[in-house]
C-alpha cells in the first residue's frame, strides 16, 4: 500500500474548480514528481493534501483518510509541506523558524542530532542562526524551509517548486540535499516542479497534470525517454 493516495480528488476556490479528479500515489520512501504547466493544479493538489483548500474524493495517508481534517492535524501525522513562497516567518529569527519545525517532537536527543545534520547540510544557517529570517537571500530562505521541514521528522514531504527563482548553482545544491534526505531517512517526497528535467532526475515516478487532470503518468525514466511526452508536456 502506498504511503499517500489521492483518489479522484476535486478541489477549487469558491466557484472556480481547479482539480477535476486527480488520482495519484506516493510509495513509502520514494520521490514522486508532479509536473505540468502553470495553472495545471500542482499547488492546489498539495494544498488539498494538507487541508488548505476544500476538496472531495479521498486522500489517504498511511491508510487513514484525511477527509475533513484540519491542516495542523494532517501535519501532525507526519507530513511536512513547504508551500509556495516557502512559508518562512520573516518576523522571527532563523533559529526560531527551525524551532517551529521541531517544536512538536519529544525525542530530545534525536532532535539535537538532527540539528547537527541540518547545519552540516546548510552551514550558512548556523552562521545566521540569530539573525532575522527576513535578512536571508532567496536561496537561503529555501534552505531554511527545507531544514525546518526536515526537523519535523516527517514521513512525507510536500515540496512546492524548491527551484523557483534560484540561481542554477543553488538549485543543484538544494536538489542534492533533497536526494540525501530521501536516501538517508527514507522520507517520501512529492515534488512539484516547473523544471521537469531536474525533477525527473531525482524522482522514481512522475505525474503530469494538465488543467486539473492527470495527463501522463509513469516511471521518471520512461517519461525522460519518451520524446513525445517531453515535447508536448515538459517543454524540453
Amino acid at each position: 500500500m502506498a504511503l499517500l493516495e489521492l483518489e479522484d480528488v476535486r478541489a477549487g476556490y469558491g466557484a472556480t474548480s481547479v482539480l477535476h479528479g486527480v488520482s495519484l500515489s506516493v510509495p513509502e520512501g520514494q520521490i514522486v514528481s508532479l509536473l505540468g504547466a502553470n495553472g495545471a493544479g500542482k499547488t492546489t493538489t498539495l494544498r488539498s493534501i494538507t487541508g488548505g483548500v476544500h476538496w472531495t474524493g479521498d486522500i489517504r495517508f498511511g491508510g487513514r483518510s484525511l477527509r475533513r481534517m484540519h491542516t495542523e492535524d494532517v501535519v501532525r501525522l507526519g507530513i511536512a509541506h513547504v508551500p509556495e513562497g516557502r512559508g518562512i516567518l520573516t518576523e522571527l529569527t532563523v533559529d526560531e523558524n527551525l524551532k517551529l519545525g521541531s517544536h512538536l517532537r519529544r525525542d530530545g536527543a534525536a532532535v539535537r542530532k538532527d540539528y547537527d545534520r541540518v547545519f552540516e547540510y546548510f552551514p550558512v544557517l548556523r552562521e545566521r542562526r540569530r539573525l532575522s529570517a527576513s535578512t536571508l537571500s532567496g536561496g537561503e530562505q529555501q534552505m531554511l524551509a527545507l531544514a525546518r521541514a526536515f526537523l519535523m521528522k516527517p514521513r512525507l514531504m510536500l515540496l512546492d517548486e524548491p527551484s523557483l527563482g534560484l540561481a542554477p548553482l543553488i538549485v543543484r545544491a538544494i536538489f542534492e540535499i533533497i536526494r540525501t534526505i530521501n536516501g538517508a531517512d527514507k522520507v517520501a517526497i512529492l515534488l512539484v516542479e516547473q523544471n521537469a528535467r531536474l525533477a525527473l532526475d531525482v524522482s522514481s515516478e512522475a505525474y503530469v497534470l494538465e488543467v486539473g487532470r492527470v495527463a501522463v503518468k509513469g516511471s521518471s525514466s520512461e517519461l525522460q525517454g519518451n520524446e513525445a511526452v517531453r515535447r508536448s508536456y515538459l517543454g524540453y
Binding site: 494538507t50 488548505g52 484540519h70 491542516t71 495542523e72 501535519v75 501532525r76 509541506h81 508551500p83 512559508g87 518562512i88 516567518l89 518576523e91 522571527l92 526560531e96 524551532k99 517551529l100 519545525g101 517544536h103 512538536l104 525546518r148 519535523m152
Partner: protein
C-alpha cells in the same frame, strides 16, 4: 528638583499600571489585528473578583493570583464563545463586538456589585522612603515592582518558551504556522487569556488609588491606548515604554503646566495619541507597514 523626582517616581508607578493594560491591548492586537475595547471592562470585572475574595477574608496575594487565573480563563472563554464564531468577519464587526462586550461587562458588574465606589485594599503602606533625596511611597514602589514582575514574566513567556514562540508565529503568519502543526485558533484564545490576566493586574493596582466601581477603567483605558499607540501598537516592549512615558508625562504636566492641572490630564493622553498618529504613526517601536497598492 526633589518634587520633580517624586513626580517621576509616582509617574512611573501609574505608568506601570497603564503599561499592563497597554500590553493587554498589544497582545490581542498582535494576535488578530483587533483593538479590544472591552479590555478595560474585563480588567474591572476581574478586580471585582479580587475584591470579593479579599472581602471574604482571603490573603491579598492569594486573591491576586487566583484573580489572574480566573481572568485568564475568562479571557479564553470570551474568545471561544464570543470571538471565535465571528473570527473571519470584517475587522469593523469585531471592533463593534468588543464595544458591545464592554457595555455588557460594565452592566453585568453594575448589576452584580452595584455602582457604589468601594475602597480597595492595597498591600503596600503609604509610608515613604527617601531615595536619593526624593520621597517615594511604598505604594508607588510596590506598584512598580508588581508591574515589572508581571511584564517580565510575559516577556519571558513570549520570547523564551515554546508556547510563546508558537503564539508569536500564529500571530504573524497563521497559514504558515498551521503547516508547522501550530494550533492557531487555540493560540488566539491563549492570547486573549494572557491579555485578560495582564489587564487585570492594572485593575487591581489602580483600584486602591481611584476606588473600585464599574466605570473605573474608562479613563485608564484611554491612557493605555495612548501608551500602546506611542509604543507602536504591535510592540510589547513599546507598550511598556509607552506606558511609563505616558504616566510620567501626565504626572508632570498636571503639576508644571498650570492650565492642565488635575482636570485636563486625560487631554494630555489624547494629545499624545493625536501627536503620535500625526508625526510618527508607527510609534516608537512599531515597524513601518508596507501596503501594496
Amino acid at each position: 528638583m526633589q518634587e520633580f523626582l517624586q513626580l517621576v517616581v509616582s509617574g512611573i508607578a501609574t505608568g506601570g499600571i497603564f503599561a499592563s493594560l497597554a500590553l493587554a491591548l498589544v497582545l490581542i492586537y498582535n494576535a488578530m489585528g483587533l483593538v479590544n475595547f472591552a479590555q478595560g471592562e474585563m480588567a474591572m470585572f476581574a478586580t471585582f473578583v479580587a475584591f470579593t475574595l479579599i472581602a471574604h477574608g482571603m490573603n491579598y496575594w492569594l486573591a491576586f493570583v487566583i484573580t489572574l487565573v480566573v481572568a485568564f480563563a475568562g479571557g479564553i472563554a470570551i474568545e471561544r464563545v464570543v470571538i471565535r464564531p465571528i473570527e473571519r468577519a470584517p475587522i469593523l464587526t469585531l471592533v463593534i463586538v468588543t464595544l458591545g462586550l464592554a457595555t455588557l461587562i460594565n452592566g453585568l458588574a453594575g448589576s452584580i456589585f452595584g455602582y457604589v465606589p468601594r475602597a480597595f485594599p492595597s498591600p503596600f503602606s503609604v509610608q515613604t522612603v527617601n531615595i536619593l533625596g526624593a520621597l517615594a511611597s511604598f505604594q508607588d514602589l510596590g506598584v512598580i515592582a508588581v508591574s515589572a514582575v508581571v511584564l517580565l514574566a510575559i516577556y519571558l513567556l513570549l520570547q523564551h518558551t515554546t508556547v510563546g514562540l508558537t503564539m508569536r508565529a500564529a500571530a504573524h503568519h497563521a497559514e504558515a504556522s498551521r503547516l508547522l502543526g501550530v494550533r492557531v485558533s487555540w493560540m488566539l484564545a491563549l492570547g486573549w487569556g494572557l491579555a485578560s490576566a495582564v489587564g487585570s493586574v492594572s485593575g487591581i493596582m489602580v483600584a486602591p488609588i481611584i476606588l473600585l466601581e464599574p466605570n473605573m477603567m474608562q479613563t485608564i483605558i484611554i491612557y493605555a491606548f495612548a501608551a500602546a499607540v506611542l509604543g507602536g501598537i504591535e510592540s510589547p516592549l513599546g507598550a511598556v515604554v509607552g506606558g511609563v512615558i505616558v504616566g510620567v508625562t501626565v504626572n508632570l504636566a498636571g503639576v508644571y503646566l498650570p492650565f492642565v492641572g488635575g482636570d485636563l490630564q486625560l487631554a494630555v493622553a489624547l494629545a499624545i495619541i493625536v501627536a503620535v498618529l500625526v508625526l510618527k504613526p508607527n510609534g516608537l517601536f512599531g515597524r513601518p507597514t508596507v501596503r501594496r497598492v
